[in-house]
Structures are given as C-alpha cells and as structure tokens.
C-alpha cells in the first residue's frame, strides 16, 4: 500500500527539513561575510554522516587566502622581517583575546591600541589604520575581500630599510659604514626587486574615491616646474626637531612634518640631479653627490660591483639633517625611522590605494613593495605608474605581459626601464620554475662567484621558508638584448608569503581525524611547505611516520598512491598516519586532484568529501560524493559546483560531526520507522487474508487505507527524520569518535525492526480477532478497532523509539490520532449510505492495552 512512493516522498521531505535546520544553524553563519551555509544539493544530507575520506584543498580552504608578505631574500641576504612576524603574532594574540565576541567596536579597537602601545610601535599604525579602515569599510565593504588590513600593512625590515635609505640620504651610510654598507650592486638588486614586486603583476589599482581608475595622471619622471616650486615651499615651511622623531606618539601626532621632511629629502636629491630617464647610461656619470637612485636603479647585470662600491663609498657629505644620524643609534629610533618611511609613503599616497589582484599573492607583494615606498600608482594598457623612493612617480612603459599560467608557473612583464631605457623582463614565479632558468650571467668570474653565492643563499632561504610553511616565489629579471625570454634570468631574490591558517583549522582537522575520517590535503606546494602545513594543522603528529612518495607521471602517481593507501590500510596505521597527507605534485593541478579523489573513491569504495574554494577544485568537488565549496577569495566557481557552500573550514566540524551525524541517524531511523509502520500496518491486512480465504479483501475502508499512510501517520516519521537528536550537539562536538560509531548495522537493525513490526501487528490483529471471534461483527466494524489500535501503537512506538520528545512531537501525535478519529467519524456519518462502516472507537483500548503491555 503505497510504500515505495510514500517512503520516497517522505525521504525527500525529511531531507528538506534537515536542510532547513542546517541552513539555519547559527554556528555555520559567518558574521564577516554575512553568509550562511548554502545547501545547494538538497538530497545528500545523510552522506555528510558517512564520510570516510576528506580531500581538502589548502590555499583558501585551510588558510585564509589572505596573503601577507612575511619575509624576503634579496641578493642572497635574508631579511627576516621580525617586526612583521611579531606584529602578526601580537595581532593574532589580540584577536584571540577577543575570543568569539566578534563585535569589535571602535571602542574596543581603541582600548586595544592603548593596551598594546608598549609592545610595539608598529601597533599604533595598525590600530590607527584599523580604525580608519573601519570607517572606510562602511562605505566600501566590497573591497575588503581583496585587501585585508594585515595584508596591506607590511612592516619593513629595519635592515632593508636602512639599505634603502642609503641612497635617500647617503650620509647615513657614512656614519654607519661599519655595520655593512650595502654594495651598490646589492642596492641595484634591492631596487630592482621592489620594482619587480610592484610591476610584475596584473594588479588593478583603485582608490577609495576613484574606484578602479586606470592611470590617475600621466606623469613622466620629469618634474614640472610647479611641483618643484611646491617642493621648495614645503621644505622651507616644515619645522622638525629630533624630539618629534624620538617619541612615537608624537610621530603619530604629526606625521606630516616627518613626511615632509622625508619627502623633501628625497626631492632635494632629485633636484640636485634632475633625473633624465635616458641620459645616465654610464655608471661613471653617476656623480659623487650620491644620487644613488639613478645608478642603483639601473640594471647592470655585467656591472663590476667594485666600481659601484667605490661609488657608494664616495657619497658626499651633503647633509640634510643631523638629528637623523643620532637617531640611528637607538632601536626605538630605528622603529621611528621605519615609521618615517612608512608615513612618508602614506602621505605621498594622498589617498589610500586599493589593489585588486587576480591572486592574493600578487596583492600581498604589491603591498609589500608599497611598504618600501615602491608604490604602484596606476596601470594602463601601455604603461604603469610607479612611485619609487626618492624619485617620485615614474611611468614605466609596458611592452608585454606574459600572464601567469599553471603550466609555466610564472609570469613575466616586459617593460622599458624608465631610467635606463633598456628593455627588461621581470619574472615572478614558483621557485622550481625560476631557479632552473637562472643561469650564470656572462661576465667576470668574480661576478659569477657572487651570483653563484646569491643563488645558493636564495635556495637555502627558499628551503627554510618552505619549512616554515610560507609560500615562496622567486623574482628574476633580465635585460633583453634580443628575442629571448625567461631564460638565463638573473635571480634577484625570493619572497615568502604567509597565508595564515583559518581559525580552528587544527582543532577541526583533529576532530575529523578522531571521527575516523581520513583527511588528505591536496596541494601543489613544495613538499616542505606541505609537510609544515600538515603539522601546523595537526594533520601530522610528532609521532607519525612520514612516508614520502614521488613519481613522475600521472599514471605512476596513481598507482603509487593506491599502493600506498592499500599498504597503509593493511598495516593498520591509524588514521592520523601517513595517508593523511598527499601531495599532488606537478603541473597537472586540478585534474590530478580529481583523479586522486576518483581513484580513492572507486578503488577503496569509500564515501569521499572534497572541500575547496577555487576554480581548480571544481573537478575534485564534482567527483567526490560530497563536494563542499568554500566561498572565499577565489570567486564562485567552487561554490557553484558544490553541494554545500560554507565560508570557513571550521564549519566542516559541525557540519559533519553534528549535522552529518544527525542527518544520517535521523534518516536511518526515519526509514526504519517508516518500514516498521508499513510492515506493521500492511501485516494487519495480511493476517486478515487467513480469514477471508486469501481473497484479498480488507477489513478496512478503502479511504482509511489510503489515508492511513498519507495523512494519519505521515507526519510522525517526518518528525523522526527532522527533529530527533540521538546525541546532543555538544556531545557530538566533544566526542568526534561518535561519528564513526553512528554507523548502525543496517541489515541487523532492519530485520529487528521488521520482526518487531510483525510481532506488533500480530498482537494488534489477533487481540481484536479473539475478542470478536464468533460474534456478529461485520467487516468494517472488525477493522475499525484494529486500525485505531494500530495507529495508537504506531504512535506509541515512536514515543519509545524517539530519543527526544518535544511539544512538537506531542502536538503531532495528538493531531494524528485526532485526524484519524475525526475522519472516521465524519466520513461514516456523512456518507453512511455508501460505506457500511462501523463505529470507530470501539474496542481500541482492548487492542491497544494488551498489545503494548505485551511489548
């Protein structure tokens, strides 16, 4: 009687109800993005409760995908950016102090700045900026996704700043010569490095007032007369003292004075030597006057570094401010000095620039360059406008862009250098792609020696970055003489970008592993980076044995993976062991990801879940049984192809452990209850066949028969499937082990249920049968009490089976029973001519009582 269809319909309705509750879960709501979980597939809720393998993308899924420039290595010298690291950590600590109270108000922002004033000067700018951004964010919330505050603020490394300041104020170098004056070659590298950071990208510049303007103003390197005049005016009007530098709060109070000073200093340099972009091709022309920016900015791959060194040593004593020299001795003043540079850039950028990049890495690098005053001001089809320290705005003619693609793993821009006029290729890319192409430059042995040293050092730094879990990129350049691209590049340096883990990622992964889910991270990162991230998110424990497999081709990789997996399975390594980690290597990228997922899913016949955020995860999400998209920085493609879209990785924990568990248990119980209900009811009719000559007649009115499933007992199973909570949510969160324990033994439970239903229908039929045996009872009068008692027993069965009873349950039971009796009474009285129905109430107590008592 309508079993398949009604069961099917009920399951669909139940899943809809489950989706409703998942959708409305406050814990799966992200306040920042104002986004709930999106349930795009309505009918796989129970799969969430049976996941065995979880495949996760790394970038943007485990991590924020908010890249922050962390450290860099130029000319083989590492700049650890300790301040930067400390700032991130302090910031982090601050954030964690905040706890879950996410309503950060302006007031709390201030109090934080007060409390942290002592710790680091940089925090002032941080908080100040924060407040400022809070204001701007209200007007332009959409830009936040691309330029997070932390990403924007890179604290320059003091050492690097000192070197950069070198050609701003050559006098500093004289006073500080013992602590390692940078060679001019190194300065060349540094300047080129930052220029590359600023221009080798596809970043679109916009500002708060002028969104996405291409080029704000066409500026040449030559200053107009009016501007020069204003320079002078500013210089003369800006009073500054040493005191203003010494005390950071005052710096904050009067940033303009500092800015003017720094600005002016740079400008005076350029005024003394009016830079002509094409004139200074020979280094010998770079004068004693220390207009190092001219010379250092010039690319000289085959330059004799000795000459440059001498050059730099001969910086003349044209001094602007003496007090600055004093400040160099003090650490705090050094901070202040950093600050000055920073403030300098800030004030120069009279409005805050916003960068929108294809990938967050690019934005992070541009912001890093900005921190060193290499500010990308605008972009047009033909040229880029860049502010360089000490020079001002330069227009860099853009000749060609080789955009990034995942096969080449690098991108390049070809520009005509604004100062030298040479055609230069700047290349940025993965270390594996770049390092192979960086050949030794032609030239003297000495230069080659230096260069080899640089390469080795950079490689070392790269490795150490990777061990820290940083994303590494290499920057290289080449001066073009003929048509040759991207080969035998000159390695400038490398960057390490930190992509912070999202909050609660380690806890989530730990919980998932405890739940018996094998977590794989599929990433194209360097092995060291991958392993480090795995440790960071507790995927790998200290005691885990690390097996590393590497292979060349896809097929070999697949075979290897499978072998590895089987081996691990056979040897019974716990879930936290090696299979937790998989590195999808090589350029195959997303195709390989989906292949890995398909391989595991098909070969091991397990339930898989894939979670990712980017377009490269789409295939993986589609292949996996359950695809989860993270709506993050990388667009909507993953979300569009996913079954569920969440905004944070940590949401997986509740989604799987609580909702998955519930949905699975609910659906299983609902189906069992549904089967019970039908077996119980249909068997009543079956038993009757023994007494009607197996003629197929029923002792129930046809309408009651139809409506019994459709109306009278339709809602209780739905309740069972939507509302029941076998285990409380907090228990499930605390004990992830329950996740795997939830898998009920289905055949066993099924047969128990069916037997139970048989027994109950036996009691329910034969008690009235014995009571009516031999009497004058008519067919429908006989059926009515049986139906009534069956209905009551079915409802009572749910009271016993259901783990949680709420007022909704009570209401539904009341309505179910009332609907039956109401219908029977109305129907029989209203249509008595057509149906020879009996009295409805009858003997149901007799039927129900002993039946339940006998249970």
């Amino acid at each position: 009687v309508l079993i398949p269809i009604s069961l099917y319909v009920s399951i669909e309705v139940v899943k809809l109800g489950q989706i409703y509750f998942i959708h409305n879960d406050l814990d799966l709501y992200n306040q920042q993005l104002d986004s709930r979980i999106q349930c795009r597939a309505l009918n796989i809720t129970e799969d969430l409760g049976q996941i065995q393998y979880l495949f996760s993308d790394k970038t943007g899924t485990l991590t924020e995908n908010k890249m922050v420039f962390r450290r860099c290595s130029i000319y083989g010298v590492e700049y650890p950016h300790e301040e930067n690291a400390r700032r991130l950590e302090v910031y982090e600590a601050d954030r964690s102090e905040e706890g879950s109270g996410r309503s950060v108000t302006l007031q709390s922002g201030r109090s934080r700045s007060l409390s942290c004033r002592h710790s680091s000067v940089s925090l002032h700018t941080l908080t100040a900026e924060e407040e400022e951004e809070e204001l701007t964010n209200h007007s332009q919330p959409s830009t936040r996704a691309f330029c997070s505050r932390v990403a924007k603020e890179v604290l320059p490394d003091p050492e690097l700043v000192r070197k950069l300041n070198w050609f701003l104020s050559p006098a500093l170098a004289l006073s500080d010569g013992s602590s390692g004056a940078p060679s001019s070659l190194e300065l060349t590298y540094i300047t080129d490095f930052f220029l590359a950071l600023a221009i080798c990208n596809s970043v679109v510049v916009s500002s708060a007032s002028q969104p996405r303007h291409v080029v704000r103003e066409e500026q040449t390197s030559l200053k107009s007369l009016e501007e020069i005049k204003t320079m002078f005016q500013r210089l003369s009007f800006s009073p500054f003292s040493a005191l203003s530098i010494l005390s950071p709060p005052q710096i904050k109070a009067s940033p303009h004075s500092l800015a003017h000073r720094m600005f002016a200093r740079g400008k005076t340099g350029s005024l003394d030597f009016p830079p002509s972009s094409n004139s200074t091709t020979d280094e010998s022309e770079s004068s004693l006057e220390g207009t190092l920016e001219t010379s250092s900015l010039r690319p000289k791959p085959d330059l004799s570094s000795r000459v440059m060194e001498g050059n730099s040593g001969q910086t003349a004593g044209r001094e602007v401010k003496d007090d600055v020299i004093d400040s160099k001795t003090d650490g705090a003043r050094q901070d202040a000095e950093d600050l000055t540079l920073e403030e300098d850039c800030k004030s120069e950028a009279d409005e805050e620039l916003l960068y929108e990049a294809e990938s967050p890495d690019e934005a992070a690098l541009v912001y890093a360059a900005q921190a060193y005053c290499c500010t990308l001001r605008g972009r047009s089809a033909e040229s880029l406008t860049v502010d360089l320290p000490g020079i001002g705005s330069l227009s860099v003619p853009l000749l060609h862009i080789l955009p990034f693609d995942s096969d080449r793993k690098k991108m390049s821009v070809v520009v005509r250098h604004p100062l030298t006029g040479q055609v230069v290729v700047y290349t940025k890319g993965a270390d594996s792609a770049i390092m192979d192409l960086t050949g030794a430059p032609k030239g003297a042995d000495e230069a080659q020696e230096i260069y080899r040293h640089i390469r080795e050092q950079t490689q070392n730094h790269l490795d150490s970055y990777a061990r820290e879990g940083l994303r590494t990129l290499c920057i290289a350049k080449k001066v073009l003489e003929e048509e040759e691209l991207e080969i035998s590049l000159t390695l400038l340096g490398s960057t390490g970008i930190v992509d912070r883990l999202q909050e609660e990622v380690p806890e989530t992964i730990e919980a998932l592993q405890k739940a018996g889910i094998k977590v794989w991270i599929l990433t194209g990162d360097k092995k060291e980076t991958a392993v480090n991230i795995a440790y960071a998110c507790k995927l790998l424990g200290p005691n885990d044995q690390l097996l590393t497999a590497s292979c060349e081709s896809k097929d070999a990789c697949a075979a290897l993976l499978l072998e590895l997996q089987l081996e691990v399975d056979r040897s019974g390594v716990p879930a936290a062991g090696n299979p937790g980690k998989c590195r999808s290597d090589g350029g195959a990228g997303f195709i390989l990801k989906s292949q890995v997922v398909r391989l595991v899913r098909d070969q091991l016949a397990v339930m898989t879940l894939a979670v990712g955020d980017g377009a490269n995860d789409v295939s993986m999400i589609q292949v996996a049984d359950v695809g989860i998209g993270i709506s993050g920085q990388e667009g909507m493609q993953a979300v569009m192809s996913s079954d569920f879209a969440i905004s944070r990785f940590k949401h997986l924990r509740k989604l799987l452990l609580v909702h998955g568990h519930w949905c699975y248990a609910r659906l299983a119980n609902m189906i069992l209850y549904f089967i019970y209900k039908n077996v119980m009811f249909v068997n009543l009719l079956f038993w009757y066949q023994f007494f009607c000559g197996f003629s197929g007649s029923v002792m129930t009115n046809a309408w009651v028969l139809i409506l019994f499933n459709l109306l009278f007992t339709s809602v209780p199973p739905l309740l069972c499937g939507v509302l029941d909570q076998h285990t409380a949510a907090h228990t499930l969160m605390q004990l992830p082990q329950l996740y795997s324990a939830s898998k009920v033994s289905v055949p066993h439970m099924f047969w128990v249920t069916v037997l139970d239903a048989f027994y109950q229908s036996l009691v329910c039929f034969f008690v009235p049968y014995c009571a009516f045996a031999g009497s004058s009872v008519s067919v429908l009068s006989f059926g009515s009490p049986i139906n009534a008692s069956a209905l009551l027993i079915i409802l009572l069965h749910q009271v016993i089976e259901s783990p949680t009873l709420t007022w909704i349950h009570a209401l539904v039971w009341l309505l179910s029973a009332a609907s039956y009796f109401g219908f029977v009474l109305l129907f029989e009285s209203g249509d008595v001519t057509l149906c020879s129905g009996g009295f409805a109430g009858g003997n149901n107590d007799d039927g129900g009582g002993p039946a339940e008592g006998g249970r």
Partner: protein
C-alpha cells in the same frame, strides 16, 4: 617547525552593518526551534520509571480483566448445531436431500434442554461456520444505491452485482451474490411445558438491524408507497430465493429492502465463523424468566444448504451484557497481561533492590 602555525581568528572583527535601515542581515534567527534547542524530554528507561509502570499496568489490568471475565461468565449462552452432519441428527435427512428449488420445504425438530433460566432479553442467533462472507468478490457483489431505493439502480443494477445482476433479462432485486445467498432457514422455538403442552415462544422479528441501516442505508423504491409489488414491477427475484423481495414479510414496515433479516444478512460478517442476530425474545413482565429452565425444541425449516462447502449451521440463544456477547478472551487477556506485568515488576524490583544499589541514586532520581 611550528613557526607558522598560528591560526587566525576572524581577521576583520568589525560589526557587519546591522543597524536599523541597513540591509537585512542573513544571520539565522537565534530561536530554540531553528537552532534545534527545543526543550526535549528524553524517555530514558530506568528502574525508576519502568518499575512503577509495570506495577501500574499490572494493578490496572488485573481488575479490568477480572471484571470482564466475570461479566462474560455471567452471560448465559446456549448453542445448538442443527446442520445434520451425523446420521443420528434430526436434520440429517434434510441436509442430504437438499436442492435450492425444491418446492416442498424440509423440516426437522431438535429438542434441547436449558439448564438455567434466562432472565433478561434473550437474543436468538443463527451461526454459520466456514462461510466466507468476507470474500473480496462476495463483499463487493451488491448495489448500495439499489438497496437505498434508487429506482434507476433498481432497473439497472451495478456491474458489481454480476453475475447476479440480471436474470432472464430482468434486473434482479436485490442484486448480487450477498443477497442471492441470503440465509433462509426458518427457526422456531417451542417450550415444552412440564405439563405436556408445547408453547411457541414469541420471537420478535424487528429491532435486530442497526437503526442507520434500516432507516438511512436501506430503503424501498417508490418511497413510502404502500404497494411494494408495483414498486418492484419489472424486476425478478434473486435466483436462489423462493419468494420475491416484496414478499418477505407481511408487515409493510419490514418488507422489501428494509426487511430486517435481509438487512442483517447484508451486513457481511468479518470472519468465516460468524453469527447473525435472528430474533429477540423480549423479557416478560414480572418475575417470570424469559426462558425458564426446561425442555425446548427447535423447529427448523431447512432451506439453507451448507454441506457443499462443509459449513455448519447453529442456533444460539444468548443474553448480553455491556460488553456484548459471551467472550472470556478479553478478561483472560487482561488478567494475563496484568499478571505478567506485575510479576515482572516484582522480579525487577527484587533484582533492582539486590543489584542496583550501586547506582541507586542515578536510577531513582530520574
């Protein structure tokens, strides 16, 4: 190694714009229902709940069972099988020499002795065994609108009645297999007075059908027209009947489709062994029992054949109570279940008392 393992809390801890007039937040409502935090009662079976339940069920069911059992035992019931299977049976001859169309009725008389006087109203039933009145095709073989007096259905019986819808091109009234197989034995009771006279006991033919059946569901064609013969003009009697439907009873109010014997028969029995109310012997005034103790005889006009399907025919005399006819089952069932519950309760209480002391508090406190 863990240098970069710091995790990020929410990076941008700003309030989302949620002030009045701002765009509506998509934040889910924090209600108990939506967050699945409804106060719930978890039925955990503990000694504290199970033991009282057992005792209550036991103490409740045993008295009910006893009451039912006593009531059932107080009902007087007498049953006599007059099928005539044995050669010694008075109706043996009738059962052997049967044919539907026999013009000469076969009669037989069965003496019986009532050991107890029947005080209140006595209900006379005929009982049939192995008669599947609940067979699917049999149950359907009737036309309710015809039985309700609809003139159109009278002349054009429903197809459900096939093959008992038409006979010799005339519509059968009442049509169908149920009507065609109507019980047509005549039962008469005689009291053999000790002084030798044979007194016929007055059997009421009315009041045996349900009121709704007689007044709502069944009706003669032509409404209250006194001339039933005219109303049934153009129809023919069911094949097995001896008399047409308008000739079932001399009393106009009990004739035609509203003849109560007919109505009772048309209410199909649920089980293959059933009884149907045949007559009622009303209680006499005064202290005289309705049926005094003594010798009786049952005179049967034997028309109804049951030997072909190995059926049995019985005549039942019964008084009734508030719970209907005599049936000790319910009382026994209640007593049994109640006793079992009580017994289990005692056993569990002993077990609990002996072994459950360790976690006594946890159990009872619930």
């Amino acid at each position: 190694m863990m240098a970069s393992s710091y995790t990020a809390k929410e990076e941008d801890g700003h309030i989302t714009v949620s002030g009045p007039g701002a765009l509506r937040s998509r934040k889910p409502e924090n209600t108990a229902f939506k967050q699945q935090r409804l106060p719930a009662w978890q039925p955990i079976l503990t000694a504290g709940t199970v033991l009282p339940a057992f005792f209550i069920i036991g103490l409740l069911f045993i008295p009910i069972g006893i009451g039912l059992f006593v009531t059932s035992n107080n009902i007087k019931e007498f049953e006599i099988d007059y099928t005539g299977v044995d050669a010694s049976s008075p109706c043996y001859n009738c059962s052997q020499s049967f044919s539907w169309n026999s013009s000469r009725p076969c009669t037989c008389s069965i003496p019986f002795y009532l050991e107890q006087p029947y005080e209140s109203n006595v209900y006379v039933y005929y009982g049939l065994s192995n008669f599947y009145q609940n067979h699917r095709r049999y149950v359907k073989s009737r036309d309710d609108s015809q039985l309700n007096g609809d003139p159109k259905s009278l002349m054009e019986p429903s197809k459900e009645c096939e093959p008992y819808a038409f006979h010799e091109n005339k519509p059968i009234a009442p049509c169908g297999a149920i009507a065609n197989s109507m019980f047509n034995d005549t039962l008469e009771l005689f009291y053999n007075d000790p002084n030798g006279t044979k007194v016929q006991i007055l059997l009421n033919t009315t009041g045996i059908a349900w009121w709704t059946d007689k007044h709502v569901k069944f009706g003669n064609p032509g409404g209250n027209s006194p001339n039933l013969t005219a109303a049934f003009q153009g129809t023919t009697k069911p094949i097995n009947w001896r008399r047409p439907v308008f000739d079932l009873d001399a009393d106009e109010a009990n004739n035609g489709f509203i003849n109560e014997d007919f109505i009772v028969w048309m209410r199909t029995a649920a089980l293959p062994t059933f009884r149907k109310l045949y007559r009622i012997i009303n209680k006499k005034s005064g202290m005289v029992p309705t049926l005094p103790r003594g010798n009786y005889s049952l005179e049967v006009v034997y028309n109804y054949p049951v030997r072909s399907f190995e059926g049995r025919k019985r005549m039942i005399l019964s008084t009734i109570s508030w719970m209907g006819g005599k049936n000790p089952f319910l009382g026994i069932a209640y007593i049994t279940v109640g006793s079992v519950c009580f017994f289990l309760g005692v056993v569990l209480l002993l077990i609990h008392h002996k072994c459950g002391n360790r976690n006594n508090n946890a159990d009872i406190s619930n």
